[in-house]
Every structure is written in structure tokens, then in C-alpha cells.
Symmetry: C2
Subunit: 620 residues, 2 copies
Amino acid sequence: MYFSYGLSLLSRGLSKPIRKTTQPIWSSLSKSLVLSSQRRIPEFNSFVSRTNTCGELRSSHLGQDVTLCGWIQYRRQNIFLVLRDFHGLIQVVIPQDEKMPTGEIEVKVKTAELLNSCKKLPFEIKDFVKKTEALRLQYRYLDLRSFQMQYNLRLRSQMVMKMREYLCNLHGFVDIETPTLFKKTPGGAKEFVVASREPGKFYSLPQSPQQFKQLLMIGGLDRYFQVARCYRDEGSRPDRQPEFTQVDIEMSFVDQTGIQSLIEGLLQYSWPSDKDAVVVPFPSMTFAEALAIYGTDKPDTRFGLKIVDISDVFRNTGIGFLQDTLSKPQGTVKAICIPEGAKYLKRKDFESIRKFSVDHFNQEVLPIFLKGSKNQNSSVAKFIMEEQRLELVKLMEIQEEDVVLLTAGEHKKACSLLGKLRLECADLLEARGVVLRDPALFSFLWVVDFPLFLPKEENPRELESAHHPFTAPHPNDIHLLYTEPEKVRGQHYDLVLNGSEIGGGSIRIHNAELQHFILTTLLKEDVKLLSHLLQALDYGAPPHGGIALGLDRLMCLITGAPSIRDVIAFPKSFRGHDLMSNAPDYVPPEELKPYHIQVSWPADSEAAKSSLHHLHNPES
Amino acid sequence: MYFSYGLSLLSRGLSKPIRKTTQPIWSSLSKSLVLSSQRRIPEFNSFVSRTNTCGELRSSHLGQDVTLCGWIQYRRQNIFLVLRDFHGLIQVVIPQDEKMPTGEIEVKVKTAELLNSCKKLPFEIKDFVKKTEALRLQYRYLDLRSFQMQYNLRLRSQMVMKMREYLCNLHGFVDIETPTLFKKTPGGAKEFVVASREPGKFYSLPQSPQQFKQLLMIGGLDRYFQVARCYRDEGSRPDRQPEFTQVDIEMSFVDQTGIQSLIEGLLQYSWPSDKDAVVVPFPSMTFAEALAIYGTDKPDTRFGLKIVDISDVFRNTGIGFLQDTLSKPQGTVKAICIPEGAKYLKRKDFESIRKFSVDHFNQEVLPIFLKGSKNQNSSVAKFIMEEQRLELVKLMEIQEEDVVLLTAGEHKKACSLLGKLRLECADLLEARGVVLRDPALFSFLWVVDFPLFLPKEENPRELESAHHPFTAPHPNDIHLLYTEPEKVRGQHYDLVLNGSEIGGGSIRIHNAELQHFILTTLLKEDVKLLSHLLQALDYGAPPHGGIALGLDRLMCLITGAPSIRDVIAFPKSFRGHDLMSNAPDYVPPEELKPYHIQVSWPADSEAAKSSLHHLHNPES
């Protein structure tokens, strides 16, 4: 008879550890032991009924009485049990005859107590058993037993602990909790509202402790941090969670370099010891460079395929549309070189690249091969003259099997398109066995000198903050605020890891007058919602700045998890549902009454209304 | 000219520290330095423009160039500045003549930069300047500059850090974040609701991570903790906050003693070094004893005045109402002895004691004096016979100037009344200079063996959980569940400090069948809302238990703060308002539309409706 992993068993007063199971069933267990030994925890068995975990018995324990608690992984012939907890596995033998299994240690049972029984599990707790994510989320408490979830959550706890040691114990930061029941911020369209018992009055769940951290600086708590819960209602954007966690930091009397050094030190100190060490300082790049070279503000710098401006090669071309583009302001010709692209990319790849470019950017992209014969299908490439081809080869260091993707257009648009194609082609090449991005490599990058304002999408003659309205302008650009505000750079910095933004921050405006000018004159914001902050700046606010790291995303990249849901104990589905408990759920009208709210049912929702008493509304 | 504390000043490249200010303006600063040195933080000046804090310069720094940042505390004759940060004060001299002030060190200015100006503050940042709490909360960022708030928040941060070290580094606990957007729990009338974008569906802000911590145990994360944000909508109960913080702990394979030892070790390890050390183990008392001796489930054991059952003295009394009481079931005569009460308590005190007893307990209370002459006013006391009086003196160790408060009635009611009077009299005696409760004393106490169920207030024939429905019954009482459930004790334990409950926890039910029986048969709860938890228990749930400490209350007792608002950076007022930002606030109907809710304005709230566009709604 075979019992699925899940029975609880307490073996009390066991004696004579004789042999260990020869082969841990999960090869990953050794990794798990590495994890728990990283911190050399002196006491894993304090306060509980066990004397040892299932993973720690060795031949040095021979002859000792031990008490073990765990789940039955296997049971064979009522003689052998493999007992398991989240530190390892141990074979337990129920004495019957003198038969001796192989291995170094086993536990001979004196007494055993079955602590609980276990129904047939909806899926086996084995890494190789594939299950849908919906099933994993519905039975999250079983999914948490998997090696990967145990590893991810334990590593997260240890890494956050190291961060706290660095900030609190080594650098004198004060861990301060800020409220999550707050007031709506201007333009806070993504803020959940929480009804109060006063008719018509609502709290708002803030997207970050931004205002509080600035107020703390004004309050003289000059080195603040918090592992802060934040909220953002974004509907169903993939891989986002309605609640998420950021490592939130703010300091007084600091400049951009100070914050950057702090974060470099923080990551270096807290980095898991089983990964390659973090090298500091991190490289830095301006926003303009990042856009020009990688076509994005969050470049993945683990690999090349950089964007090259080849406008000069075509200054005197006869090819009409290149001529046209170059004659326009901001008109450029750009290209990326795909190494061995001629070998690995298929005709249909080029077709889908072309389609993507037209559909999403309304841009043409030309593949250019070094071997002229391959260009015969291209209506344009075949007209590129030999001289220009040679210049290109030299400029872009093109090898025989490479392929160049060329586009012509306005600078930003051309770069953005090639930035996307660069990542697209990297995926394609890797799918075909080319190693471009070393999975053990962590490539950090600071991106700096962002514009302070961007034209509003819906009305490009108005400005909005590129990040948030509290970001201080670059000191060299302050005079431009009054003449050409769109040219002002902000003292904002983003931290990028392997092409994902994992943090962002800025030096803040500490002058009430300047803050008022930017909010009212430049951004046309209603400052009533911010009057307390503007007033606070007037009472001797020190210069200050800070940063926030996205902890979920960071842990996701470190553990190599496919989704941030894999580094969160109880995540919501991509539609914002808790599939285990079925939240959010209907609430009877009488329970809304004390909050003076009622549901405005959409006209087509009779079905929803009638389902008020249904408990389950499973997500497909 | 005198500048109120609040100007920001950065003095760069200062030279020749010569003398220190002779007398710190705030005597409390030395205490502040003790606090920051407790942890021996190596780097308080990393990453920022200062080289030293204003508190750390000593004669050993003589001749060094230093950079200081701080606020101007005083300015005298444009020659001397007293510069201040939250680590201390330093005198800065702007060189003019060779005049030499007193003291050991001062800083001679090379260059000084005024970093910000400061409007006239609404109140001076000095401990002796009294201000209303409403004003303090409105300008919280200024109030945070007070010594006491700085001390409270920095101590809180350090103590929580020590707790984390103990749990994470020493005992292998895993810090796991659990969601705050969850599902309504059965009977969760105090849960805030958060509208989602799906019509009629709401999240709920949980009162504790109770379900999640149990699910984590089932998920094999066998030692969990979290410094968890919790929510409770209690309207306007004084000294409660709509959001609060608990140190939340759960373990597998543990019993009550294990949890108690863990908490004793945790508090001992994290206790501030400037307070008397915590002595472990803590004393323990059953709920029945606590009620009988102190008249409450959270006894303040710093002082005596214990309740004594004096029924036996009056078994054969001729006094009618004592006879009456003693003839009833549960009828008792109880008393407390107020030391030197005859000396310190006035006639009007006894009158207000009597009024309180009648008003709140519908009970008579008799003061009895040792000197018979004093009892002449009492219609009953004068009939107590000499023999009984002598017995009482012996039993209660009554001294000449003491006074005894006697009551007769049902056991629980009589104890509860005397428990209240005990505290009332302690306040009265202390107001008159008698020291009963040493403010430096921290008196911990475990209260155990609570009843598992209580009769419902609204219908005493039905039962409700004394704590929560997941508490396991006492193993010796399980058979009573099916016959006399009201007699079953729960494996619940409360931690009491100086008469305040600072923690509570229990061993949980890990058997699905038992949990189901208690929920449905005994408590008549609708288990649909808990189906995921019941199902989870069926899949090999290990035995487990835990506890939660109320961090705000604990810090309040440690710092001796008058209110938990003094240990929270940005607390809500007793009406649940943020007086700084004016939250909660009105939200325009169009911003509620995406959440499919609308406000149900009460009939009498036209005023409220029309004030939708008013920003300020100050709380008086």
C-alpha cells in the first residue's frame, strides 16, 4: 500500500539511529540544506516536541534517542517509513525482524503516534508532477509544500533579514510603519477605496508611503526604512498583484550618489551566498543613452545586440524612403546586428518581425544579409550599394552569418522598435539553443537623468510628471523650469536588473515654493489634496531623497521564478482573485449598511445579482 | 534675535572643533545617546553629506575638519549658532573676534549654507510646551521632532529588530507576508470592506492573519512569524486604532509550554537594555484564579489588594442580606483590604465607590473600618460581631488604618466588581502619594485555562467562542464537548503585562472533523466561508499553535506613553481620522463608479452632501 505524502506522524522516544536513507528522494534537498545552513541557525528544534529535523541526522547521532515529527512520504510493508519535513527525509524502521536495509542511518521506532490522517491529495507533491496554476492557487497550502515554494519563501525571509541588519544595525536606519488607511492622492486613479462609517467618506489604500517618508524627514527621523505593503488597482495587468511589497528608504542631507552607494551596499550585503557575489559600483547610463543603445529605459545589459545609428552611412543614398526620413527633424536610420541570425532565424521569423513592426510601431524593418544573394527577396536591401554595405560591416562589426535589422524613422520610435526586436530576437535565438543570457548572471544598471516632465498622452501640449511631482529638478536645469520645462532633467534614478526595473527613487523637492510652482503652474494639479505636505515643507524641511525596491520582482529574478506569484505565499490570480478562499466575494447589503454604501449593479448583471448566494465562482 | 528651532543649515568644511556647548538644552539628550549607542551602530553618517552628527563631537575631535547638518536651535548676535539634529546639539561659532565661549568643544565655521528657511512654527518643539493632542496630530511632522516621539519610534524599531534576530537568526523562523486583501470571515462585523472592480464583490481587510498562519503550517512552513498589519473597524473605542500591528507567530508540533517559552525568550532577548531585565519564566495563573483573586482576566500583579472570599466568616451571621446571598447558588461574600484606606480615602471616595457599584454592577459595597467607631455610619457594618471582626482581621491581615470593602453576591459578579474597585482604589491612593505600582516594574503573567465557549450575551442558551473557533479544547476536557460544552477549557493562553493584555494565542484544532463539529454543531456557524480551511485540515495538517503580541500596546507600556498614539508615527485620532491629511475624506461619485458602489446618504445628511467640496472638516 502506498500513502501519498501528507500523513502527519510523531515518533516519540525513538532510539538507535542506525542508518540514513541512502538516496534522498528529492535531489533538491541538498540545496535546501544549503539554504538553512547559510545563516547557521543554532536552534531549529527549540520549543517543539521534536529533538531533530528529518534532515539533520548523521552517523554521529548513532545510538541517541531522538523524537522526529513529519509527514509520511512512503510506507513499505508496515516496516519502513520514510518520514519527511522541510529540512529532509529520514528512514524509520518499525522493529519486526533483524532485516537491515542499506544506508548509513535509520531510526528504530520505540513508539509512534499518528497525529493526523490525510485524504487523497488533489495532486502529488513532487516537482516533476505538472499542475495548472489555477489548481496550484486553489490548493495553495499544498503547493507551498513543493521544494521550490519552500526555497523561495525561506530565501525571501533570509534576504529581507539581511537587508534589515544592513540598514538597522550597520547604518542606523529606523524601521517605521506608516499607515495604509490614508487619503486619496491627486491623480490616484489606481487607489482602492475603503468605506468608513461616516457617510460618503473613504480611506484610500496608498500606492506607496511617498508622502509619509517625506514627512518623516521633516519630522527629523533622518534615516527611515520600511518593508512596506503597497496597493495598486490595475485591473488585470499580467504579473502584477493588487498588493505588493517594497523596500522603502529615505534619508536626509543626501544626494543621488549617496542613495546609489547605499543600495549597492545593501544588495551586496544581503545577496544570497549561493549566488555569484554582487560587484559594486553598478554601471550607470543616462536615459538618453539607454534609449539610443537599447531602445528602452530598462536595458537588459547581459547581452549585446546594441542599436547603432547608421544615418551617416545613408546621408547620400539614392533609396527614397531613407532619404525622406533623414530629411525630417529627428529622422534617423538605425540598426541592430543579430549574430548568426542568417543561420538561426527562419523566413517566417522575419515575416513576424515585419508584421510586429508594422502593427505596433507603424514602421518598416529590413533584414540585410551579408551575402548579397540572400537580399534578392528584399525590395530595398538589394539597392544598398557595395560601398554602403562595406561601411555598415565595419561600423557594426558584422560577421558572415549575421543579419542586420534596419529601420528608418523618428529617433525615439526607431529606437523603441529596435529595442523590442532586440529582446524578441534574443528569445528566438535562445529557443534555438544559442546562449545569450547567462542565467547565473545578475547585471545591475543605474539609469539616470530622466526628463522631469513628459507631454501628456491625451494632450501633448500639457505636461505630466515622468515619475512623480516630488522629484527635484537637476540643479543645472533649474533655470529651464521657467522657459523650457520639457528640457529639465529630474534627479531621478532607476535601478535595472537583467532588463527589469527593480527600483526607483529621487532626490525630492524640499523647497515649498518650488514644489508649489511645479504642482500648480506646470502640472495644473489641484494642490488641496497635498496642502499638508506643502505646509510641512515650509517648516524647515531638510534636503532629502530616497528609493524603493520592488521586493517581489527582485526575489523573482533572484530565484529565477517564472512569475512573482512564485515568491508570494498567497498571491492573487492575474484577475486579482484569491482562488483558495474565493476573494473578493459578494457581501450582503446589510453588511454594507454601516458603511453607507450600496452596489450599483450594471444593467446586464442580473446574473451576478442572483448569484449573491453562490459561494463558488471559480476562475477558469 | 531668536529663531525657533526649524531652520535647516548645512555647514560645510568646518574646522577646529574647539568647545562643546556646556549644557545640553534638553536634559533628555543623554538618554537619546544611550538609545543610539545601545546597538553600537558603526555608521550613522554613511552615504550623506555630514561627517558627524551634532551629538558625537568630543575633545578628541579637536582640530579636525567636520561637516555638520542640522536645524538651527538658537542664533545669538550672528556669531553663535546652536545646531541640532536628533543625536544632540553643538555650538557653532562664526569667526569674528577671538571671544571664547565656555565649554569644551565648538565648531568654527569655514563655510555655511542655509538649506531651507522655516516659517513660524505653530508650537515650539520643546517638551515642556504643552499642546493639545489635536494640534500635535495636525502637525504630526513637527510633533515627531519631540524627544519623546523620537525616543519611542527609535526604540520601537530597535526592539522589533531584536525580535527578528531572535526569531529568524536564532530560532529558524521564516518571515512570511500574508495578504491584507482577503475574504470576510464568519462574524467579521469589524472588518473594513474594499470594493473591487467586479460589481458587488468586495475584499475584506482581515483582523489578523489567523487563517493564513494555520494554512502555512499545513503548507509545511513550520516556524512562521510576521510583524503583521491588522485592521479592525471598531468605530470610536478609545485608544484603539483602525490599523494596528501584531507580532504574529505560529509553529508546528508545539504545545502550550513551547509557545510560552518562546515568548519568554523573545521578550527577554529584545527587552531594551535601559530597562530592568525580564525575569523568566513568567508566573502563570488559571482564568478561574485570576477572576477569584483579581476579578479580571488581566490582573495587574504589581500590587496586592487581592480579593478574599470571606463567605465562611459569615456562614452563621444574623445580617439578613449576607444570609440571603449565601443561601443562593454561587452566592459569596468577598472583600478587599485597602492598606491605610482609613487614612487616605475620604468620605466622598466611599460615596463614589458605592455609586459606581450600584450603577455598574447593581451591587452594594460596604466599607468596614478596624476602629469600630468609624463604622457607626454604616447601617450594616455596625452589626458585624466582634468575633467575626477578629476572624476577618486574621484572614485578611488587616492593619489598624486599613479599610475593607465588602460585597455579597454571585461569585463572578462580586469578583468583577471588586476587581474594578481594586484598580480604582489604587488610582486614588497613588493620587494621594502612596506608591503602589513601581513604574520601573514590568510584571508579566500568563493566564491559562480559559473556558472554550461562553454563553452568547444576546441569547445565553447559545454558545460563542471565548476567543476564536480554531482554539483546541483542553485534552482532558474533550469528552465534555459532547455533554457539557460550557465546561470545556480551551488551550488558550493570554499574556498580561501590568494589567494589560499584550498577547494571546492557542493550540489550534488540527483535526478537520473536530473543527467541523465545533463550527456547525456547537457554534451554529455557516462553514461555507471557511470551507477552504476545513478542506486544508483534511490534507495532513500537523498539530500546531501560535500567539500574537500587540506591538503597539507593548511599546506603549515599555515607553510609559499615555496612549498607543505615542508609539505610532502617524496614528488616527480616537474617531479614526488622520488630522494631518484629513482622511477619510469625500470621494467624488465618478471615482466610485469603477467600483460599482454609490453612497447611501442618510436622510439627515444634506449638510454632509453639500460639504462634498469642502476640504477641511476639523475634529474638535
